[in-house]
C-alpha cells in the first residue's frame, strides 16, 4: 500500500508535465486545426533558457525562471509569425510540415550550441523533499503538481469566465463568424500561441531537474503528451489534463510492477488500446462542439 501511494504521487507528478504539454497541443489545435509538432521543443527551449540564465550566467533561480517564461512568450510570438501566420490561409498540410521543420530546426540549433551532452538543472528547492507518513514527497514533484493545479484553475477561469476566453473559444469554433463580429482572429491565434508556448515552457522548466536537459527531452515529452490528448479525447481541454495524469500514473505503475525498460512501452500500449477500442478517448470528441 505504501508503495502504491508512493507510485501514485510520482505518477501524478510526471503526468502533470504531460498534462501541461497536452493542454498546449489542444489549445493550438482548437485555434488553428493543426497539430503543432514542435510543441515538445517549446519545453526543450525553455529548459535550455533556464540553463543559460541560471547555470551559465548564474542568475538567481526565480529571476531566471521569470525571464525564461517571458522568453517563451516572445518565442510564441516568433513561432506564430514565422511558422503559422504565413501559411494560415493554406490547408493544414503545409502548416503541419512547417511545425515539423521548426521542430528539427530548434533541436539542431540547440545541438549546435550546447552539443549532445545533457545539461543538469537544479530544482527550485534546496531541500530534496519531505516524508509524509509512508510517502516521500519529492519537492520538485510537489512543485510540479502545485503549479499544474494552479494552471488548470487559471485555465478554467480564463476560458469560462472572461470575455477574452470566450472570444478565443469562438475563434476556435468558427473563425469566419468570429471575424464578422469584429473579433480579431489573428490576435486570438497570437494569444493562443503565446499561452501554449508559456505552458510548454513551464512544463519543460519544471521537469528539467527530474530528467536531464537534452535536445531529445522535447520529443519524449511531446510524444507522451500527444498520447495523453488521444487518451483524453482529442481537442478536449479536460481530456488533455486527465489523459496526461492517467498516462503518468500508468507508466509509473508499469515500470514498478512489470518492467522498467518497458516504461515508455506501457504508455504506447495504452495509446494503441484507446485507438482500437475507444478512438474518441475518455471524454469523447463532442462532434457538435467542433461544427
Amino acid at each position: 500500500m505504501d508503495l502504491v501511494l508512493q507510485l501514485l504521487f510520482t505518477g501524478i507528478g510526471i503526468g502533470a508535465v504531460y498534462a501541461l504539454v497536452a493542454l498546449g497541443f489542444v489549445l493550438i489545435f482548437r485555434a488553428t486545426n493543426v497539430v503543432n509538432f514542435a510543441q515538445g521543443e517549446f519545453s526543450m527551449v525553455a529548459a535550455y533558457l533556464m540553463v543559460v540564465f541560471s547555470v551559465d550566467l548564474g542568475w538567481p533561480y526565480w529571476l531566471s525562471f521569470l525571464i525564461a517564461l517571458a522568453g517563451m512568450a516572445l518565442f510564441g510570438v516568433i513561432f506564430n509569425l514565422g511558422v503559422y501566420y504565413p501559411l494560415r490561409n493554406r490547408t493544414y498540410l503545409p502548416v503541419i510540415i512547417a511545425t515539423i521543420g521548426a521542430s528539427i530546426l530548434l533541436s539542431n540549433s540547440v545541438l549546435a550550441i550546447y552539443g549532445p551532452q545533457p545539461q543538469v538543472l537544479q530544482g527550485w528547492f534546496d531541500t530534496p523533499g519531505i516524508q509524509l507518513g509512508p510517502v516521500y514527497l519529492d519537492s520538485q514533484y510537489l512543485l510540479i503538481i502545485a503549479v499544474t493545479i494552479l494552471l488548470v484553475l487559471f485555465n478554467f477561469w480564463f476560458f469560462e469566465k472572461t470575455l477574452l476566453g470566450k472570444k478565443l473559444q469562438a475563434t476556435s469554433q468558427d473563425k469566419e463568424m468570429a471575424s464578422l463580429l469584429g473579433i480579431s482572429v489573428s490576435t486570438m491565434i497570437m494569444i493562443t500561441f503565446i499561452y501554449s508556448a508559456v505552458l510548454g515552457g513551464l512544463a519543460g522548466i519544471l521537469v528539467a531537474p527530474v530528467l536531464f536537459v537534452s535536445i531529445q527531452m522535447g520529443s519524449t515529452i511531446a510524444l507522451k503528451a500527444f498520447a495523453a490528448t488521444i487518451i483524453g479525447g482529442f481537442g478536449d481541454v479536460a481530456g488533455a489534463i486527465v489523459g496526461g495524469l492517467a498516462l503518468g500514473v500508468i507508466e509509473t505503475f508499469g515500470a514498478a510492477y512489470v518492467s522498467v525498460p518497458y516504461k515508455d512501452g506501457f504508455a504506447f500500449l495504452v495509446l494503441i488500446a484507446f485507438l482500437v477500442f475507444r478512438p474518441q478517448g475518455i471524454f469523447g470528441e463532442r462532434v457538435a462542439e467542433k461544427a
Partner: protein, 242 residues
C-alpha cells in the same frame, strides 16, 4: 445620399463570376429586400458588403466612404453587422455568451455588454429561458433568434440578414418577421430572402437578382405588379435562369 451604395460590383470565385455588375442603393431607415433564386448571387452580395468576399471590381460605398476590400473585422466596426446564412451560432458557447460576443466590434466594458445582452431578451423573449444553454442544443428558430440578437449587439447602422426564414416552420417565420419589423424602427436592414412574399411584406424597396445581375428593382407593389416577377416566383421562370 444613400447609406449604402453598391456600384457595378463584380465578385469571382475562381473562374466563376458570382456577381456580374450589381448596382443597388439602400437609403437610411429603409428595409431593402434582395430576391432571387438559389445561386443568383444574393448571399455573395452580402458577403462582399461585410468583407467575406473580395470584390474583383466595382465599389461598395457606406456612409460616403468606400469599404470595398476592407476586412470583415474593420467593416463591422464601421457599423455593418452581417447575420449570415445558416445562423452560425457558436455551438460550444451559451446563448448569452453568443449574444455578448456580438458587441466585439465596440469598446465597452464586459459588465455593460452583459447588461445589454440581458436587455436583448426583451426583444427576443422566446430565448430568454435558454440563456445558459449551449448553442448546439437549440432548434432552428431559436438559433435564428440568437443570430439576429447577436447581430444587433453590434449596434449596427446597417444590418445584413441572410435568409432568416430558411428551414423554419411558418409560425416561426412569422415571429422572425415580426422582429424584423421591430428592428426597422432604429436600423437600416438589407434582407436576402427566397420567400418573396415574406421578404417584400416588410420591405420599402426590393431588388431581384438573376445569375449575378439585378434584373428588376422597385417598391414592393411595383414588383408584385410586374408580370416577370410574378412569373419568376409563381412559375418556373427563375429556375430556368438559375
Amino acid at each position: 445620399m444613400p447609406l449604402l451604395e453598391i456600384r457595378n460590383l463584380v465578385v469571382r470565385y475562381g473562374e466563376i463570376e458570382a456577381l456580374r455588375g450589381v448596382t443597388i442603393a439602400v437609403e437610411q431607415g429603409q428595409v431593402v429586400t434582395l430576391l432571387g433564386a438559389n445561386g443568383a448571387g444574393k448571399s455573395t452580395t452580402l458577403r462582399a458588403i461585410s468583407g467575406l468576399a473580395k470584390p474583383a471590381s466595382g465599389d461598395i460605398i457606406f456612409d460616403g466612404h468606400s469599404i470595398a476590400g476592407l476586412g470583415p473585422e474593420a467593416i463591422v466596426r464601421l457599423g455593418i453587422s452581417h447575420v449570415p446564412e445558416g445562423r452560425r451560432v457558436f455551438p460550444g458557447l451559451t446563448v448569452k455568451e453568443n449574444i455578448m460576443l456580438g458587441a466585439s466590434n465596440r469598446k465597452v466594458p464586459a459588465s455593460q455588454i452583459s447588461r445589454e445582452a440581458d436587455a436583448m431578451f426583451d426583444l427576443f423573449p422566446d430565448i430568454r429561458a435558454f440563456s445558459n444553454a449551449l448553442g448546439w442544443t437549440l432548434s432552428g428558430g431559436q438559433l435564428q433568434m440568437v443570430a439576429v440578437a447577436r447581430g444587433l449587439m453590434a449596434k449596427p447602422r446597417l444590418l445584413l440578414l441572410d435568409e432568416p426564414s430558411l428551414g423554419l416552420a411558418p409560425v416561426i417565420v412569422q415571429a422572425v418577421f415580426r422582429i424584423i419589423s421591430q428592428i426597422r424602427k432604429d436600423t437600416t436592414v438589407l434582407l436576402v430572402e427566397q420567400n418573396a412574399r415574406m421578404g417584400l411584406s416588410v420591405a420599402d424597396h426590393g431588388f431581384v437578382l438573376e445569375t449575378g445581375r439585378i434584373v428588376l428593382g422597385g417598391k414592393p407593389d411595383e414588383l408584385w405588379g410586374n408580370e416577370a416577377i410574378a412569373a419568376a416566383y409563381l412559375g418556373g421562370h427563375a429556375k430556368a435562369h438559375a
